[in-house]
Symmetry: C2
Subunit: 289 residues, 2 copies
């Protein structure tokens, strides 16, 4: 049996009791380590689970999946995924390979950032399409996520923005020379995402477009959701661009139409009395009905 087991979002203790029991009896346990991260590392997980974990990076999952699935028809293999195995990233490829090879699989669900963001008080019912925001480079500054946010906002919907993660990236030179030397991991912060969004707003303004998002649009930055030291900050897009929420992972929500109860909840996460006020008055298009 292949078990795909979600680890949730905080630390080692966020695994479910069911998941932990399975981890402890599997013959091999892989840890998917390239699409997300917990606040603790592999060592802490190994100590808590009482099991050695085999790190599965992107190359391994995409190119050596047969190794992961080896003997899974006659023994139990676990594949651990931060969050939920079918949350922000899906592992359909691995499942399909397993089924094709005649291997049964089972999913042990857990919290995903896709639903845990509800903790800021915005109702999941009121979210439209989720978008990803990638790191811009000097020569590549895609704006397509803005248009999706605009489409959601036009319908009054909130937008969850998942932020870029760069793990095991090679510099162009190292890539060309075939050197397996990797750059330090990079995780986009809420402030960086807000900064890119502000730049797009300015671009669109200069083009004379009607703006769906402005510097005063109410946004929410979330960091380390589910961990002891999680941080949530509600404020304008401009405020978010200069706020420091600490270590990764971060997410951003661009709000749409706000329900009064949602406003009451967001007030818990503003930075001061002026911030509380701004939620009502600063952005006409998102104020309370």
């Amino acid at each position: 049996m292949l078990y795909l087991i979600g680890l949730g979002l905080g630390d080692a203790t966020d695994i479910t009791v069911k998941g932990l029991e399975i981890v402890r009896r599997c013959s091999r346990v892989y840890l998917e380590a390239y699409t997300s991260m917990l606040t603790v590392g592999k060592g802490a997980l190994e100590e808590f689970y009482g099991r050695e974990l085999l790190l599965a990076d992107r190359d391994m999952v995409e190119q050596e999946a047969d190794g992961i699935l080896k003997d899974a028809d006659v023994s139990d293999v676990a594949f651990l995924v931060v969050g939920d195995p079918f949350g922000a990233t899906t592992h359909s490829d691995l499942v399909l390979r397993a089924v094709t090879a005649g291997i049964e699989y089972r999913v042990v669900h857990n919290a995903s950032i896709m639903s845990a963001v509800g903790c800021c008080g915005l109702q999941l019912y009121n979210f439209g399409e989720t978008v990803s925001i990638v790191f811009w480079t000097d020569t590549w500054k895609p704006e397509s996520f803005y248009d999706k946010i605009k489409r959601n906002r036009d319908m009054g919907m909130h937008t969850l923005c998942l932020l870029d993660i760069k793990v095991k990236e090679q510099s162009t030179e190292n890539l060309m020379r075939g050197r397996k030397i990797f750059e330090p991991a990079r995780y986009m912060s809420a402030a960086q995402a807000a900064g890119q969004l502000l730049e797009i707003v300015q671009n669109r303004r200069e083009k004379g477009e009607e703006l769906a998002v402005t510097e005063d649009t109410v946004c929410v930055g979330l960091a380390r959701v589910g961990a002891e030291d999680q941080a949530i900050r509600a404020g304008t897009l401009r405020e978010l661009a200069s706020c420091d929420l600490g270590g990764p992972l971060h997410s951003v929500i661009v709000t749409g139409h706000l329900h009064p109860l949602e406003v009451d909840m967001l007030r818990l996460f503003t930075s001061g009395p002026s911030g509380l006020q701004s939620l009502r008055t600063m952005d006409g298009s998102t104020c309370v009905s």
Copy 2:
């Protein structure tokens, strides 16, 4: 401290290790018992957690919240919620009351149906607004959810439909006479939801509307997601209307534009070779690009 603890979606063992530790040391533990359910009852949870649970029905949470929060400023109280505490249902009211009373709170996240539906292989990124489908009566047959599904499909997005739950409902007569006699709990099945949707499709056809959904639109029925005996069925809306997925809870997804990898995954959940075929050919508007 007030702890809002998600129980996940399957049985007693789907609580997280962190959640279980907190449950075992709180002075009082409430179980929210009106917006969802696990495959096991209160007794099984009490046995596994090793704690007595106080049932919190809708009346209690809405009218006697102060009782739940009593002494939570000086001791620890847990409020258990099936799924995630901020998933399909939010408990913002209770949180706001706690904060107003000077009580700290913390959330222990878990799997929510809002993200666990990803297990059918449809990518959560490609979902639009979530809708609720309520039980129709002889005199009240709201169709507004159809228009939201239409709006999602027009943009190529999938729609998660959460299905009605009737717990502790009174008959009109008992309500008028003030008798606290409750009807048996009712949970809408995927087939019932599909049946109501088919009726709307027929209504709209008779009005000459251009149809966003037809009898051949690819849908997915999901039952008891996360439980050992979960059932997932992919097929046309017509097929779904006559399929029996067993006991509650059920959900339905009306698909939008399908990515090839999503089709490959849905094929795992069709009822036979003809079903496999139907995913490609029967509904022009949702076939693979």
